[in-house]
Amino acid sequence: MSRLAQGGLIDRTRQLPFTFDGETMLGLAGDTLASALLAKGRHLVGRSFKYHRPRGIMTAGSEEPNALVTIRRGNHAIPNLRATTQELYRALDARSQNRFPSLDFDLLAVNDLLSPFFGAGFYYKTFMWPRSFWDRVYEPFIRRAAGLGRLGLEPDDRLHDKGFAHCDLLVIGGGPAGLIAALAAGRAGLDVILADEDFLFGGRLNAERIDLDDQPGNEWAAAIVAELRAMENIRLMGRTTVTGAYDGGIYGAVQRVADHLPAAPADVPEQIFWRINARHAILATGAIEQPIIFPGNDRPGVMMAGAVRSYLNRFAVAAGRSVAVFANNDTGHRTARDLLAAGVEVAAVIDTRPDATPQGDYPLLSGAQVIATSGRLGLREITVQTGSGRQRLRADCLAVAGVWAPALHLSCHLGARPVWRDDINAFVPADGAVPGMRAAGAVAGLRTTRDALKSGLAVAREVIAEHGRKAPRIRLPHCSDGPVECAPFWYVTAGKGRAWVDFQNDVTAKDIAQAHRENFRASEHLKRYTTLGMAPDQGKTANMAALAIMAGLDGRSIPEVGTTSFRPPYVPVSMAALGAQGAGRGFAPERLMPSDALARKRGAVFVELGLWQRPAWYPRPGETSWRQSCDREARMVRETVGICDMTTLGKIDVQGRDAAEFLDRIYVNNIATLAVGRTRYGVMLREDGFVMDDGTVARLGKRHFLLTSTTGAHDQVWRHLTFCAQVLWPDLDVQPSDVTEAWAQFAAAGPKARDLLHRLTQADISNDSMPFMSWREVKIGKITARLFRISYSGELGFELAVPAQYGPSLAEALEESARAEGGDWFGLEALNVLRLEKGFLTHAEIDGRVTLDDLGLGRMMAARDCIGKVMADRPALRAPDRMQLVGLKPAGASKQLLGGAHLFNPGDPVDREHDQGVITSQCFSPHLGHPIALALLRGGRGRIGEQILMHDHLRGVETLCAVCTPVFLDPEGGRMRG
């Protein structure tokens, strides 16, 4: 047992059973998984990424490179959790990773013996040759051996959520600087969020034996937290890591709501990914202790000294029975004193500084270095080089006290580089690195509690002043810790064996030397060549020593080598949290048509059209394939009548004195000449001369028009019209309004369409009073509706529009009337057949690369200017061999026409150079009894009557086709005019 008899911020009355690799143990409430394991004397918790080296707990925070575990089971398993931050809960089920079959005996540790072959750059060198080995040998091998943790393959059904928060001030980190800043801002009345990734606020105050005004630091912190909790204008967000800083004062944060519970309560998300909008932020993230690099430093039992103190003081756990300390600064001595005070044996303090003097009752080796370690699966002995020779010391834990590097990662997220400070051997955040963010405390380079408090208060005062508030008077407590002297000693050169720098990616000092030899000397090159700092921990405990080693190799200073930049997220964030609420129906909003409920009742099969949910067909009993339903619906329209919900069409209302002039400038054809009561087909171009969209224009009044746009192009058309009205021609008196959702609109098409409408309205809709391409208002009961005589099917057709709230009831009335005439609903598939038989266009044809002339509509172009006219007149856009719209019919044994298939001259090779065009749309025509297609064919209009070969490389189909005009049915249009 290495749990101390007293002390610590744990609840000794609440024992929590948990399992690690199947072994059941007892921990205490307030433990992390790491502290509970160490309390059982367990250092070895994982195997390393590349060499499967046995690895132990190294830190006590989110910077942990080694102690990665998987918790929970099946589709709820979460891999790669850091045992050092995972709160213990009852029946926590944790497993070590990257070992096979077990932690103590790992077969892939053979990689370690092969390490000469796996050194730096091995990805780039080893796998280059022979080329053919990549697919079959190298890649599968890497896939099996690499990677940390395993994801379940079943869908994760747990709830995650997104959160949005706004505040005056976001304080990142709840240590002394963050607490005092939040207190000041809170008392000044600011709206404050205080976020800390720990489940206990207080930062290092919980881990050190520091008194603030005769009060233990953790009690002082608890008192402040209690006051903050009582303030309504302060939100305390524990278990919340701020993961990224973004433009405009936006921060990403992940809150672990239920990771510390056996299971999330109903309706409570596991995690919430927050988007925090903060006018100001205070970065009070503290600092991360950096290891001193020496041979054999990855043996389980070698830990950071700050972590040893955390386990000792916060969790009442002695990390070893006999602890040695290896230090380049005074905190090593603090560690020894804390251990002695708790009754733990200190084997020795090995201080690299020759002039170090003892600060307590322990053996001190000044000017000494650790040059080797030994012990199978755990530390037993260290070898120390002193001025007078070598000596061996027995120790089962080695606490390494190195330089504390500011945790400045967030300050780099907008691209700023940190600034080097020689006096503290560390980079600090650059001023103004993130607009609105100020650094305070250890991250700003301050080294005592008193200075951290002072700086927290000072930056809080600046923020308070910028908000025009008065800063409260706060007396700072006296703090018992003094200044820390630190030598810039980073790595040991004596000794043999590998010295590990990046533990998570298994990069050694030797790898860095190799990178240097091969001239990958800049920090960014070093990183990519050795993979240093590229593991999920982003080198939080590796980058500094690596820079120092590189600097030492050619006599440069650390800032001359450079620094690597940091990018979000600060800690790994699960995809489930990032994509919260984005799966299934949360993926995109759904737009429902007025007839949606009716169609679902009828068992319609739906298809997504943009965000719209549209019925594709309405199956009837006995129909076993979509084609049967589609053919029946298409025939029904040609023979009797069909109804279709057309509400998805874009509808734009244009009013104003200059509305006609405005539309003349938008459409290629004349609109001003359109009479009131009439509608016209219109085409608009983009300014580059290509077709943007087509639709109908109805003139509702002298200064009032209604346009339709294609469902999928509506956003673009709407943006275009407002752009023209507001940006190009603000002097025109015109007001476009998007009324798409204000109107429900239904098509009735077929020989009996008029009879159907007679059942709903008394209005005279005869061919004389309401000819093709006219519109009028009609009464449907008491409702005033707009009736348009337009047709997208080539049949006698009407479209009936009512204010949207009447849509569902009109749908029912239409259904009843249609059935009385022997008709019914038809879906998008039948609509596609009907329009294809007539050669009407969709955006399969208007694909952004076609001109008016390509579509055979060149004669529509009016003489005056319109958007796109000048550019459409470019010679290349009028070339005779452009892709032009034609129809295709099968002309050989194969009848298959496939959308997207390419066209070739019969006898030519079927390759890219000989490509003649592409099929844009195709369907089976029930009226012709064979497939038909629209295609864009090189010089197509001059090739009517010729034969062309369709070759589908993807599906391996070849069909000889006859080129024809793109109208397959009723070319004179008699049916729709009748």
């Binding site: 973004y246 433009d247 405009g248 004062g249 936006i250 909008n277 607009p435 300014e687 580059d688 956003d715 943006r719 407002t722 752009f723 507001q726 940006v727 190009l728 603000p730 998007d738 200017d865 006219k869 000048v870 550019m871 007149d873 470019r874």
Partner: protein, 91 residues
Amino acid sequence: MKLACPLCGARDIREFHYQGAASLADRPDPGAPEARQEFLDYVYMRDNPAGENRELWFHAHGCGAWLVATRDVTTHEFLSVRLATDKEPTT
């Protein structure tokens, strides 16, 4: 990122559609002798400043106003925003 719409106030950038350089507001005279060349420049050619850029933004998921904004593209800071229908400031 936020953009301060003169009609709606500071709103999340995702409410806006970015159209491109504000030079798109200066459509050439289609009747000019060199109209085709001028349109080629107008449609395809853009300055690429590392610094202040005048841009068109559309408040698509807001009031529907077109805005002319000046933005420092190296910092994403908006230096000024006005309605496209308002006249250029004379100063």
